[in-house]
């Protein structure tokens, strides 16, 4: 049902070849904890970065399902690199949904080769977007932004960032508006770059706005529409986090199977251990189940039947699954599994990030149960 179509096969094969080469520097990127520009350039030059950008603007014009296939394939070999793409696409999604024709002309072509980012979180506003205190005051033909954002994935390397701020501080989420911020805007600066557990090639950054002047043309959508923009964006990006998780899990399982074929356990070949056999069976089953849900949630979006519930279920199930699988894989590999000579411990650290970013899995459960009980 969700088989990769003939048309897309060559794209996925190309992505696989590129990802295998990128994977050779995984450990280096993890240790450095810096944005790996060479990998960015590889994605750019091979027209992977611009896959979701409409064809009219020179992009790939691909839908969510194809983007999910691509992310799954990249994450299979290099989760952090998949997260780089997903971060860019997350930054592009609100623009794709809400840009007016003028904004499209201005930004879409740029985002074929420049990084985009999405910035909602603040110290007091994590799960609760209503807690945003960054303020945007109208001043003639511009807005003046003041406040601090945190945990903006790749915010320090992005040229175009969708930033959410309160145009009416007296209203909760209804006072939120979205703005297209360019790196060069005066009053904008990057603060602390986080030293995080996983996905270390795509560190999160603090963004500081001090009397930051934003032309009124850079308001995205309408004033007060910010929360809607954020939620519609996340509905469309959660399947992508889920796809990365499926890729991580596949990478972990493949690596584990190779190890099991060679290893030994209690003086017997490891593959003869039924305990291990059953673990592998459960792992493979969990991956297939999660993958189908991810593809379904993505296909629904492409068909114009966006399901908040399905996107949340896919994100929650797949990210939890990837974390559990990486944990179980280490149990099979033992001391080798926690050694940095093998990639599994890194994949586990990467997987943990996905259970929290773009809405913790507790928030996903909240969304799912709300739709059940509505």
């Amino acid at each position: 049902m969700f088989e990769i179509t003939e048309k897309k096969k060559s794209l996925i094969e190309k992505v696989r070849e590129i990802s295998k080469r990128i994977a050779l520097v995984n450990r280096e990127v993890d240790e450095a904890s810096e944005f790996p520009w060479p990998i960015f350039r590889v994605f750019k030059e091979n027209c992977i970065l611009d896959l979701p950008i409409p064809e009219d603007f020179g992009g790939g014009g691909e839908g969510i399902l194809t983007c999910c296939w691509v992310l799954e394939e990249v994450a299979h070999f290099s989760p952090s690199s998949a997260h780089m793409l997903a971060g860019h696409w997350l930054g592009f999604t609100p623009l794709k949904l809400f840009c007016n024709p003028f904004q499209r002309e201005k930004y879409f072509p740029r985002l074929r080769s420049e990084m985009a980012a999405f910035s909602l979180t603040e110290p007091a506003a994590g799960s609760d977007a209503g807690g945003v205190i960054t303020e945007a005051k109208r001043d003639g033909d511009r807005y003046v932004l003041n406040g601090t954002k945190i945990y903006c994935t790749q915010g320090h390397v992005a040229n175009v960032i969708t930033v959410f701020a309160k145009t009416d501080p007296n209203l909760g989420v209804k006072g939120l508006s979205a703005f297209i911020i360019e790196k060069e805007f005066s009053g904008f600066s990057v603060g602390k770059i986080e030293d995080q557990m996983g996905m270390r090639g795509t560190p999160a950054a603090e963004l500081i706005f001090q009397e930051c002047y934003v032309p009124k043309e850079n308001l995205l959508g309408q004033e007060g529409e910010g929360f809607n923009i954020a939620m519609q964006t996340l509905d469309r990006t959660r399947p992508k986090d889920a796809a990365i998780s499926v890729g991580i899990a596949k990478g972990v399982l493949d690596y584990t199977i190779d190890y099991v074929k060679k290893g030994s356990f209690m003086r017997e070949p490891l593959l003869r251990s039924q305990g291990v056999q059953f673990l592998l069976a459960d792992m493979a089953t969990a991956i297939e189940a999660a993958r189908l849900l991810v593809y379904e949630s993505a296909a629904l979006i492409d068909e114009g039947r966006v399901s908040t519930k399905h996107s949340a279920m896919a994100k929650c199930l797949a990210t939890d699954m990837a974390m559990r699988l990486a944990d179980q894989a280490i149990d099979i590999l033992g001391a080798e599994g926690v050694s940095i000579e093998h990639p599994i411990e890194m994949f586990m650290r990467d997987a943990k990030m996905l259970q929290i970013l773009e809405g913790t899995n507790q928030i996903q459960r909240l969304i799912i149960s709300r739709s059940l009980l509505a």
């Binding site: 945990y151 030293d195 557990m197 291990v276 411990e345 650290r349 943990k352 929290i356």
Partner: protein, 377 residues
Amino acid sequence: MRFELTDIQRDIQKAAREFAEKEFDLDLALELEKEGRFPKSIFEKACQLGFVGIDYPEKYGGQSFGLFENVLVIEQFTRKDSGIGISLSLADIASSIILKHGDESQKKKFLVPVSQGKAICSVAIIEPFHKENQKPCLTKTDVYSDGYLINRGKAWVIHGSLASIIVVVCEIRNSEEPIALIVEKDWEGINILGLKRMMGMRLSSICEIAFDQVKVPKGHGIQWERNGANPLMTYRHVHRIKTSAQALGIAQGAFDKAVKHAKEREQFGKKIIQFQGIQFMLAELYTLIEAARSLVYRAAYDYDANIKEVERISSVAKLFATDVAVRTTIDSIQIHGGVGLMREYSIERMLRDAKTIQNLGETNLVQKALIAQKTIS
């Protein structure tokens, strides 16, 4: 049957907790982890105060308590800081062999310096694998007139680069009889090879050791007794129990932090601990930690009381407590949200440390196989 600590045990627990609170500085721990350094000065202080070697008899510099009291100390140490706690509790990893199976002169010579903080002792058991066929190369020893001769090497030696005393488990050539040899690191022919870097446990160096014609005097050998526990079994029982104590402390520490954060963090107009989703997570973790504590204490008690069940219960405790530690640290990160992922807050470090101790040495798959074997037979 009493499920209570004695007054003295309570005092030990309290003293260990206070020591850890005072000495295990978070910034220091982060710096040590980055550089992969052992907390030497804290170790020396812990020795002066009698926390290390608490289970040695007084005449060897100890306090004449048992493994149980040692477990109480380890739990409080890793509860405060997983990295520092683990590295301290592994610093006398070989002493259980010498304590139980060594002779008088060996105990005097090797236990006293450890209890004084002047030496670290380690154990070398695991054989490195032949690259081609994944079979272990057995470390054989030859017997000669004045003692033994060791060649080849050992892998996964904890604190290998720091230890000055290493108990090497070998097989005597031709007779296939096992023997434990106490080796001093400054002897000729001992080479420390590549340091292994792990996901966690970065304060404890793990390396391979190569032996090139190393001569071991006769008085340094520990024979296998015909009946009863042998040095390797003793080490394994104690190591499982100490690992489970480390895990228990990490789980408790991660839980403490999760509760504290949930009480402070506000979202949607209330403290997140008021959300039942968080409450149920905490309730499950609390239940698991209590169950783990009962098992760990029981295993330590069985060891001290020489109860044969320790053979199985030590595996049960290690399996359960390390799994609980991994689960608790994963969930604690989840409750912390974004800050849980950042290195400076050290919650993610607890997961990396928990996962590492769970898998170094005998894995939990091995524990399951051992528990099953004992259950079948």
